[in-house]
Symmetry: C2
């Protein structure tokens, strides 16, 4: 079923639909993010592309992918921008950041727990007259490797 190529294919289609090219740099970033265990910083990506892409081009690539909603950018607990494939490509998930090594990884919250989170979020929105559009749940703690 080509599961491995889904994100790549979807990304190419999205860009082509916007009359933009699926260039090597753009493809590389999508590939890297697809195979990463969690969101990557611009610095991580600059290293990951092995200096094959100049800093300014990397940022431009990220900006294009973000504008086309292939990736999303968000600040990690330390304020550094991190990027990951958009949820329409990966599914909804949360993050856990290790306070020892600083690594941030994805947490694909099981359906039953996610339902509970949704209920809580909806209830809070109701109580505070806030029209909820989405949420983020981040855990801080110590990962298995750091114990």
């Amino acid at each position: 079923m080509g599961q491995r190529n889904d994100a790549l294919t979807a990304a190419r289609r999205r860009l082509e639909a916007l009359q933009m090219r699926f260039t090597p740099a753009r493809r590389s970033v999508v590939e890297i993010l697809e195979t990463s265990p969690g969101p990557q910083s611009a610095a991580d990506l600059i290293v990951a592309v092995e200096g094959a892409v100049p800093i300014s081009s990397l940022y431009r690539t990220l900006s294009v992918l973000e504008d086309s909603e292939v990736i999303v950018r968000f600040p990690d607990p330390n304020g550094v921008a991190r990027y990951e494939l958009a949820e329409w490509l990966t599914g909804h998930h949360h993050h856990m950041t290790c306070i020892v090594c600083g690594a941030t990884s994805d947490v694909p919250v099981p359906k039953d727990l996610e339902t509970a989170v949704d209920n809580i979020v909806a209830e809070v929105g109701r109580r505070f007259d806030f029209q909820v559009a989405g949420h983020r749940l981040d855990l801080q703690g110590v990962c298995a490797q750091c114990r």
Copy 2:
């Protein structure tokens, strides 16, 4: 009972315990944060202190208060650093950010819902072998004023 002065008093004591002074600038920042409906950015604070405190001093003030754990710094959804009184002064709470006006405000999640959140977080930690030390739940949506 001097409820209004608790944070101010606690902040002064904390600084004095560290042999630091509770200067006017430091006091101002604590007062502003104590009376704000949500976390403030450095830019907000610079405006709030009415130019009475130079930029560099304001940042130094924030850094001192952060190091002494009187305030905490965290990035809002747009990546700008925001500051608020530490939870030992205000109690645990979450945040909601309006995607229209960008305002971030506190959400003192009711005890019953917070208990549910705690259970979920604990369960996730168990399932993913992650020693959870804390969590952040942020809601994105549209606030009452922006509808």
